[in-house]
């Protein structure tokens, strides 16, 4: 497979043919923020948090192929403001009470807000939707108040578990993830599914019962590191 090089924020990056901007950036130790994209899942290009400027156009880095000599802007004040607004809207669309949420400290949305410097409530109105908690399954619960509709669980269940436990229902702000059945108990979901694993749901929506708060403060994913640290540390090595 042949390769080529392009630039991200002035850094020379090499890519293989067919790689997305994000994949090439990851290998080079450059973190591009993301929420709906996840290693091992097919790209969806839904959340737009990975927006970069490539050749002057705004594109989703998780789906846009890298190209020779492309000039990509990633960490500019303008782009980060856009990302901050997107993340702010995700907070306001749901009901996110971080202090009482078991995902706190391990949550990608919360960590993204920290990384992007979202220190105060956004200017967007709180929509305060009324969303159900589905705790019918003996080992799994869904707290839809925290769902950001990233679709990672849908893809994980379909493509990795071969099941189709999750799907979307409703439209617009009412669109949310639901179990493919009257409730989670009436699906073939199992706590050992990849879709249910801690890495798939970026927030505290998919809950593995009885695990909440088991990890002490100080030992959670983002207690000591910003999100993206694992990718960025490759650069220093």
């Amino acid at each position: 497979m042949s390769g080529f090089s392009f630039q991200i924020d002035g850094v020379e990056v090499t890519a293989k043919n067919g790689q997305t901007i994000m994949e090439a950036a990851d290998e080079a130790g450059i973190y591009i923020p993301r929420l709906c994209d996840h290693e091992g899942l097919r790209h969806q290009g839904g959340c737009r948090v990975c927006t970069v400027k490539a050749g002057g156009r705004s594109v989703a880095a998780c789906t846009q192929p890298a190209a020779p000599d492309l000039v990509v802007e990633n960490e500019t004040p303008h782009i980060n403001k856009l990302r901050r607004d997107l993340v702010g809207m995700l907070f306001n669309e749901g009901n996110h009470l971080c202090p009482i949420c078991e995902a706190s400290g391990n949550c990608e949305l919360q960590a993204m807000a920290y990384r992007l410097g979202m220190t105060e409530p956004t200017k967007f109105p709180y929509l305060e939707p009324c969303r159900p908690v589905d705790a019918s399954h003996p080992d799994i619960a869904l707290d839809n108040n925290r769902c950001i509709s990233c679709g990672r669980c849908v893809r994980a269940s379909q493509d990795v578990d071969g099941k189709g436990v999750f799907g979307y229902v409703g439209r617009g702000i009412h669109r949310h993830i639901a179990a493919n059945g009257p409730n989670l108990r009436h699906t073939d979901a199992e706590v050992t599914d990849f879709a249910i694993s801690a890495e798939v749901c970026p927030v505290g929506c998919i809950i593995r019962k009885r695990e909440g708060f088991a990890r002490p403060i100080g030992e959670r994913d983002y207690d000591d590191h910003l999100i993206g640290y694992d990718i960025e540390k490759k650069r220093d090595e």
């Binding site: 019962k209 909440g212 002490p216 403060i217």
Partner: protein, 480 residues
């Protein structure tokens, strides 16, 4: 002035939470009635409905910015029961105890030095500008410095055990999520001896104040009552974390004893009155008129048979001997009682720091799920009851909380009336000093009104003086 009047103080400074005291005067300017109202209510029980059981110990802390650890632990104890765990692994129970002793210590120190000391040092009639911690720091810099260091020690213990100084997450159903690393323990061992010395000094200060002002203390909103607390199983010793319920009458006679706390609803009933959101609990068998009781540090000194740490035990004996009666009823003696408990906590913390179980790694037990669980703890302000039901999906369907301030509701109402009758009745004018007395009476109970109303967040308290026609007379607003 011949018109009947009503006093309003707004807000009562240095009380945690929000509520309103009204003092009703009759046509002759004599105090007719005094009531502590809770004027706001944001239902916590509704909020918790449908939440998952392991979230509850974290969520309930939001009831109160002042005593979150007590709620965290009481809820965790209830959830232990619901998860079928009757015996925690030793590391878990000891970590929780350590957290609790740290909390009681810092809460009592805060109350004594920051909230009460200005009154005690400068007098109830001192102007508001003088009655604050900054004046204490200016006049008694060493005392002020120790107050800050002692509070910090308690908070550091909380942080090391709960994960954060406030709103930690460590107590989980069936156990704890962390142990105490050796290095952290060694840090505490360096300062704990000094904490004990300072606790002894603070105790002496509270004792001397009480003894030197025997007349004031004995006459200030002092009245006999029944008392309730947890006591240790078997010997009836002071146990702030766990035990059975004991209720005594004013002469020390037993009303009930060693009653497992999951039977609290067999002996206690909560009365509702139209003018307050805060309920009035009473002893079922005795009835609402005389079946009320008090809880808190002084109540504990009265109920327990002994304290299992030597210095605090000797101090308690001195407190009990110093009063002419079998039991101590003077509400201001709560300060003395608090300092005895601070000493007890420091002794307990010392004991625990030397216990290798704190470095154990067996942190959590499991059992068979139950539908209902009750957790009770002796919080800094007194007995605290958490009661939940959880359905087969792990969602909360029922929640009832009786917090210390609610247990003390009748007592506080009586204290306000007592002071109002003595200091406001027949007076032509309401002075700052008079209003201070009312505040001091309430503050002696260290009420936490955000807890009492089960509101989410904190609220300030107002006091109001009304005439017989219900007209507001004197509105006194002070910055907190």
């Amino acid at each position: 002035m011949a018109e009947p009047r009503l006093i309003e103080i707004s807000p009562v400074t240095r009380v945690e939470g929000h509520g309103k005291v009204t003092i009703h005067l009759d046509k002759d300017g004599m105090v007719d009635e005094a009531r502590l109202h809770i004027v706001e209510f944001r239902g916590f029980e509704r909020f918790i409905h449908g939440r998952l059981l392991w979230e509850v110990p974290v969520i309930v802390q939001r009831l109160c910015g002042i005593c979150p650890v007590s709620h965290h632990l009481a809820a965790a104890k209830a959830m232990d029961v619901i998860c079928g765990v009757d015996q925690l692994p030793p590391t878990a129970e000891k970590m929780r105890r350590l957290m609790h002793y740290g909390q009681v210590m810092q809460s009592h120190v805060l109350h004594f030095f920051h909230l009460a000391a200005p009154d005690l040092l400068f007098g109830f009639d001192a102007p508001a500008e003088r009655r604050n911690i900054f004046e204490v720091l200016r006049e008694k810099p060493e005392l002020g410095r120790r107050a800050i260091m002692m509070r910090k020690f308690g908070q550091d213990i909380i942080e090391a055990t709960a994960g954060k100084k406030i709103h930690g997450t460590a107590a989980i159903p069936g156990g704890i999520n962390r142990n105490l690393p050796i290095e952290t323990r060694d840090g505490f061992l360096k300062t704990v001896a000094e904490m004990q010395d300072w606790s002894l000094d603070a105790l002496a200060l509270a004792r001397d104040y009480t003894l030197e002002h025997a007349e004031l203390v004995g006459g200030f909103a002092s009245f006999p009552s029944k008392y309730m607390s947890l006591v240790r199983e078997g010997d009836g010793a002071l146990d702030l974390y766990h035990g059975n319920l004991r209720m005594i009458d004013a002469e020390g006679g037993t009303i009930f004893d060693q009653l497992p706390y999951d039977r609290y609803h067999e002996v206690l009933v909560e009365d509702v009155r139209s003018w307050s959101y805060m309920k009035f609990p009473f002893i079922k068998e005795i009835g609402p008129d005389t079946g009320w009781y008090r809880v808190g540090p002084l109540a504990r000194m009265n109920t327990v048979s002994l304290i299992d740490t030597p210095l605090a035990n000797a101090a308690r004996e001195e407190l009990m001997a110093a009063h002419g009666t079998v039991k101590v009823h003077a509400v201001l003696a709560n300060h003395w009682a608090r300092m005895i408990e601070v000493l007890h906590c420091v002794e307990k913390i010392t004991e625990l720091l030397h216990d290798p179980d704190l470095q154990g790694t067996d942190l959590k037990a499991t059992g068979d799920r139950r539908e209902e669980g009750i957790g009770v703890i002796e919080a800094p302000r007194g007995n605290l009851i958490h009661h939940y039901k959880v359905d087969e999906n792990d969602q909360v369907t029922y929640c009832n909380l009786i917090v210390s301030t609610t247990h003390n509701n009748e007592g506080m109402n009586r204290a306000v009336k007592d002071v109002a009758v003595k200091h406001i009745s027949g007076q032509p004018e309401i002075t700052e000093g008079m209003l201070n007395h009312v505040e001091v009476a309430i503050r002696a109970y260290d009420p936490c009104l955000s807890c009492a109303t089960h509101a989410l967040g904190q609220m300030p308290l107002e006091v109001e003086l009304l005439d017989a026609a219900g007209q507001t007379l004197d509105k006194r607003a002070r910055a907190t």
